[in-house]
């Protein structure tokens, strides 16, 4: 809480209207800030000064009040009950009012005073009045035109400004787009390069593995061939031995 906030809350605090949640913050500030503490003490002293004012007693005369109420209540009725003088007064007032309205060139009520003016030459003629009205109308029209043209020029300026802002924005957008596409192209190129390298490496690895497998297969085939030759030799030997045995048996029979 800063000093200005503390001073804003002070009045409510002094009149016990400050919400409970704001009190600890204010007290904490007062404990740290000498200036605000002095402000609070001076405000408190002002309230004590104000307390020195006394309550006055001015009894009201009820009879006077009742008279005033009665006067107010019966004012119109009493006036009308006066009979013909009242009606004559009303009639005179009505005639005067109509006269004023018909012949006065100006009736004005200002600062509690009614001003009625009559033109020295009587009421102005219809032509003069029309001319005056027309002149006023022309003046108003001219003022309105001026205002309109000034507003128009303002709006044109505003529209030009908006257009400039839009162009700048478009330019900015284009620059950003270009930057973005160049970055994208760079990324694509980098990625392609990485993929190519990876493929080459993989192919190289695969080729090595294939060669090793071929060698192994070749060795295996060779081993099988050797075993088959050995087996063929053994079979031939057996066959010969069987043949000799068969021939010996035939000789014996």
């Amino acid at each position: 809480m800063d000093c200005e906030q503390a001073k804003e809350l002070m009045v409510e605090f002094l009149y016990d209207e400050l919400p409970a949640e704001s009190i600890p913050g204010l007290k904490e500030h007062l404990a740290q800030c000498r200036e605000c503490l002095e402000y609070k003490e001076e405000m408190q002293q002002t309230l004590e000064y104000l307390d020195q004012n006394v309550e006055l007693r001015a009894p009201l005369d009820l009879a006077v009040l009742h008279d005033a109420i009665d006067r107010k209540r019966h004012r119109v009725r009493k006036f009308l009950h006066r009979g013909w003088p009242a009606w004559v007064a009303i009639g005179v007032c009505a005639i005067m009012l109509s006269t004023f309205t018909l012949f006065a060139s100006e009736i004005r009520y200002e600062d509690g005073a009614l001003t009625v003016r009559f033109n020295a030459q009587g009421k102005e003629s219809l032509a003069e009045k029309t001319e005056r009205t027309l002149a006023t109308y022309r003046e108003d029209q001219l003022r309105f035109q001026n205002q309109l043209s000034s507003e128009l020029s303002d709006s044109v300026t505003a529209s030009e400004k908006a257009e400039r802002m839009l162009a700048a924005y478009r330019e900015e957008q284009l620059r950003f787009q270009n930057q973005l596409s160049s970055e994208l192209n760079d990324s694509v190129a980098t990625l392609s390069r990485i993929i190519g390298e990876y493929e080459i490496q993989r192919n190289r690895q695969l080729a090595g593995a294939f060669d090793a497998m071929q060698v192994q297969q070749h060795e295996m085939l060779m081993a099988i061939q050797r075993k088959l030759q050995t087996l063929a030799l053994q079979t031939e030997k057996e066959f010969r031995r069987s043949y000799y045995t068969m021939a010996a048996l035939a000789d014996y029979q």
């Binding site: 804003e8 002293q45 007693r57």
Partner: protein
Amino acid sequence: MQPGDGELMQKTKEGDMRAFDVLVRRWEHRLFNLIYRITGDFEAAKDIRQEVFLRVYKAAKRYRPQSQFKAWLYRIAVNCSINELRKRERRRTIPLMMTHKNDDMEEYSFENALPDPNPGPDDVAQQKEMAEHIQNALRRLPHEQRVVVILRHYEGLKFRQIASLLDCPIGTVKSRMRQGLEQLRVKLRYLCREGGVERGL
């Protein structure tokens, strides 16, 4: 048990003048003090108080029992007092100091209002002097601030009640109160030192 203001207004509405008299007696002094503090003029305060009671009587027919009487009465009193101040401002006749002489105050039983039942002449003089200083300091405030200070400090209305009475935001009321008190702080300190009342506080 005394009847409430709303009940008295209801009876006044039905034409019971005694009920209205009770209401007048109940509020006459508080209303006088409120108006006097706002306008700073004894005679004007008396006239305005009478005007306020006349309006209350006239408006009794329209009075709704659910509305708070005190707030309603104060609203009328404050409006009448402010109208009077505006009239004076227009006529440019508002005096810089109090309009009455000290002798006038005797008429309004100043002594009856003192807390000490048997005050010495010095005490009375000192109290009078102090009251004049305070009233003069209040009079020098702009009337928007003065009304708020009086309603909050002397009439004990809450800030939200004052806001509702004056038809303005509560923030405005608080800010007027703060500005009023800050001005009074300077004026009262100066006036009380000038008048030698400092020793009495």
